[in-house]
């Protein structure tokens, strides 16, 4: 369903630096156990793809930013970034 107005936002949500990340610790230890000793740190976040309609890229980005602030990320412990591509 590619249209002039169809976009996809790829949103990356990660814990803020300094916030305890038990998932990351567990994955790091798991990788060490598999012999990947070169790994020093792992952080685990969310990767959210949002398909939406918008008149142009800028408008899409503005809406997605709002969605992040309101729902997709928890500003208390998380930070996010995203980019918008044609769907």
């Amino acid at each position: 369903m590619t249209s002039e107005k169809a976009w996809r936002a790829d949103v990356y949500v990660a814990l803020k630096a300094g916030v305890n990340d038990p998932q990351g610790l567990a994955v790091r230890d798991g990788l060490h156990r598999l012999g990947y000793d070169e790994v020093s740190q792992v952080r685990v976040g969310r990767y959210i793809q949002v398909w939406l309609e918008a008149p142009d890229e800028e408008a899409a980005a503005a809406r997605v930013r709002e969605m992040c602030e309101r729902l997709l990320a928890n500003p208390v412990i998380e930070e996010y970034r995203f980019h918008v591509v044609r769907a």
């Binding site: 038990p22 998932q23 567990a26 994955v27 230890d29 798991g30 156990r33 598999l34 685990v44």
Partner: protein, 235 residues
Amino acid sequence: MRFAVITFPGSNGDHDALMAIQMGLGQPVELVWHTETDLSRFDCLIIPGGFSYGDYLRAGAIARFAPVMESVRAFAEAGGPVLGICNGFQILTEAGLLPGALLRNASLSFECAWVHVRVDNDRTPWTRALAPGTILRLPIAHGEGRYYADDATLERLEREGRVVFRYVDADGRVTPEANPNGSLNNIAGVCNERGNVVGLMPHPERAYDRLIGGDDGLRVLSAVLRAGVAAASRS
């Protein structure tokens, strides 16, 4: 018959499995820490429920690399009876000892309840002597129990009769309402090709005494005792 209960960091159903075998079945049983590699003294293995390594990446993903898992694999390949319960089921699928995967429940929330499952295959050591169609009442307690396999695998599982347990209503009917987690074809448990490795999401090891809600789980756990003759002759 000597049971092993394999314990990983974060397992929490190990104690229940131990109690079910000890108090419910009256059989000898040992907890086996994930770093052990010698399983030769056991006749059957239980991989219990819990949150191995917190289930932080995917349920069972990290546990499958534990040292004990090589021995579990060898034990299974030699035809020994292996039962994976809940997280144990997840570990066995991650390890490739059972087909498919277990995804987050369709409800997106953890589900703790007593459910009915129907035995659809009596050729595994864990269901021998349970006539197909037998309905068991067992507890479930999981957040990631939605059984998934791709179309080809699913078709093959059904064709080969390798769906061992299916969620049903009290009358044995397969209905969407009876499916607590959105599993494909209401699948609650499956087995490997040979039938000796079985995984299921419900907890037979929590149903060994009427005082705590039921004892249908003993019918699963004790089935292996009959299968024991075959297992003993294996070595």
